[in-house]
């Protein structure tokens, strides 16, 4: 993004947040629209369960809206938001045993399987296999992978979100990547094709 475009985006986000801090409901909705898909995607891939992903997303935005007055603009808003996402996901993981393992069909899977194009199916199968392995990672490794690949955060940003050092982020990603590579080694052919 061009620096001026980035600055203008930051300015409009700042105004939006200030409006939320004045209890402007329309501003809440706009803030929700801007971030809902990314938050939901992380929640879904973390829990592998649509109901849980809905609950997590709902909790995140409720907490966000009820505490947004405490937000000071000396921090990145996304750091604040994704710290909430990580905390709610981890809390749900601890409280709840309903996160189902891969293999139990979800609505998303069923819809995908109806689409029969071969290339699409292979790609979909690859994505589903990746999701399954990610769902089995330890929660801390899983969250590091999701933040990196959905948010494209730097290690320093991730460290702020996860409350650890950039070195720990590097270590968690390293372990996550190795597990993915080893468990999906049989799909290595896809890598060669894509490269």
């Amino acid at each position: 993004m061009e620096p001026s475009a980035a600055m203008s985006e930051r300015t409009s986000e700042r105004r939006l947040i200030e409006a939320c801090q004045r209890d402007d409901r329309e501003a809440f909705r706009l803030l929700f629209e801007a971030h809902k898909d990314r938050v939901y995607s992380i929640a879904f891939h973390f829990s592998r369960n649509e109901t849980a992903a809905r609950d997590i997303t709902q909790q995140v935005f409720l907490k966000l809206f009820t505490t947004i007055r405490q937000f000071r603009h000396d921090a990145e808003f996304t750091t604040w938001l994704y710290r909430l996402v990580a905390n709610v996901c981890m809390d749900e993981q601890r409280k709840n045993r309903r996160f189902i393992p891969f293999g139990e069909a979800t609505e998303v899977t069923e819809i995908a399987e109806r689409k029969s194009q071969e290339t699409h199916f292979i790609r979909r199968e690859l994505a589903e296999s990746v999701q399954a392995v990610i769902a089995e990672l330890k929660p801390k490794l899983r969250m590091a992978i999701l933040l990196k690949y959905f948010e494209e955060m730097s290690y320093e940003e991730m460290a702020k979100v996860l409350g650890c050092s950039p070195g720990t982020v590097a270590s968690r990603l390293n372990r996550g990547h190795k597990i993915l590579a080893r468990r999906l080694a049989h799909l290595r052919g896809q890598f060669v094709t894509e490269e």
């Binding site: 879904f44 709902q58 409720l62 000396d74 992978i145 720990t168 597990i179």
Partner: protein, 382 residues
């Protein structure tokens, strides 16, 4: 001869997170080390798989559900409306009984709390083992008030700072828990490196080092102390105050500050300031210089200072006197003109309200914000 293996850095290498020197070292090592090359291939494959994750659209009905829940949230205003009704709803005998029950429960809770809760932090080992007193910790343990925790050559530990944050300790770090109360958490870092992330009101967490105390103002930072007791505080988020015996430094994010035994905290500066600026500043802070050397160092600092470095010059105003303070004043005024009512004479005489008002012009938090937590100027500051 091959350099140290690089497999722990490979994800950071692939993500472009290493400095150019580190990346070059990794690339050179990979050329000569088959083991690390294999690991590199594995990490690249893992990254490829992770990149296959797809974003999903949030369900369309989610906003309606959130809005419904928001409408059900009690607001302070609605509480005020409901409270009188609640009060009248209680008949006096029932109210008296309820108060008595609450009293018994409260006393019981306090007794239970005092008896069972010993102030201690949870310790989680990230790598290797640590020592608490004479006890070795493998995975999880406790660090009680008064106890020392020591990490080994290859070990790293994570401590929960009550309910307000975390501290991560690097290898070869020695730290003591001095106090753990809801509004006051204190540790001593004797040596090593700690990374703190604190989400609490300012001053709820502080770290004593051999030459200064780091006081948290709501932040994330790294603090290193070497064998000589010298330290370096580097802030990644929020603010930290570094202070000892009336000498204080305020360090915003992306800035750092050295401290030395016998001198206390130096002048804070942004990490991206020029190398010559930082070297000259260090000379002024910690070295015994002749008059000519001191003048040369000050000239470098003033000529290299950018607008962003105004907060460094602001700190220098309180650490210089006479002609040096005049030179600092002139350069700071050129970078950030003093607001109306702040006069040259007043600042040169060390007028503290004027200094605070000038601080407010620097584009950082207002002085009144941190004075609220920090209190007035230290008596020794001139």
């Amino acid at each position: 001869m091959l350099s140290k293996h690089v497999y722990k850095q490979l994800s950071a290498y692939c993500h472009g997170e290493l400095s150019s020197e580190e990346a070059q070292r990794v690339a050179e090592h990979l050329r000569g080390c088959e083991r690390c090359r294999k690991e590199h291939e594995e990490i690249k494959l893992g990254i490829f798989f992770a990149q296959q994750l797809t974003r999903l659209p949030a369900p369309a009905s989610l906003w309606d559900e959130i809005e419904t829940a928001l409408n059900q949230q009690p607001t302070p205003a609605s509480w005020r409306l409901k409270f009188p009704r609640l009060a009248f709803a209680f008949a006096w005998p029932r109210l008296a009984t309820a108060v008595a029950v609450l009293l018994v429960l409260s006393v019981g809770s306090v007794w239970f709390y005092l008896r069972l809760s010993r102030p201690a932090w949870d310790v989680e080992m990230i790598e290797g083992y640590a020592q608490v007193g004479s006890q070795r910790i493998g995975e999880n343990g406790k660090l009680a008030v008064g106890q020392w925790l020591k990490t080994g050559d290859d070990s790293r530990a994570r401590l929960s700072v009550g309910e307000i944050g975390h501290v991560e300790l690097a290898p070869n770090t020695r730290l003591r828990l001095d106090e753990s109360r809801s509004d006051d958490h204190r540790v001593t870092l004797e040596r090593g490196t700690m990374y703190a992330t604190i989400d609490a009101p300012p001053r709820a967490f502080s770290v004593a080092t051999p030459s200064a105390v780091a006081v948290d103002l709501g932040c994330a930072y790294t603090l290193e102390v070497d064998e000589s007791g010298a330290g370096l505080l580097s802030v990644t988020f929020g603010w930290v105050a570094f202070e000892v015996e009336g000498r204080e430094s305020f360090i915003p994010r992306f800035a750092e500050c050295h401290t030395r035994p016998g001198s206390g905290p130096g002048t804070p500066y942004y990490k991206e300031a020029s190398a010559s600026f930082k070297v000259a500043l260090s000379k002024l802070d910690f070295q015994k210089l002749s008059a000519a050397e001191r003048e040369a160092a000050l000239t470098t600092v003033l000529s290299e200072a950018r607008k962003e470095d105004a907060f460094t010059l602001w700190h220098l105003l309180t650490r210089t006197s006479g002609g040096e303070r005049e030179r600092v004043y002139d350069r700071l005024a050129a970078l950030v003109p003093p607001p109306s009512g702040v006069t040259r004479d007043g600042v040169l005489q060390g007028d503290r309200p004027m200094l605070d008002r000038w601080w407010d012009e620097l584009g950082l938090d207002t002085a009144s914000w941190w004075r609220m937590w920090k209190g007035p100027w230290p008596p020794q500051t001139k």
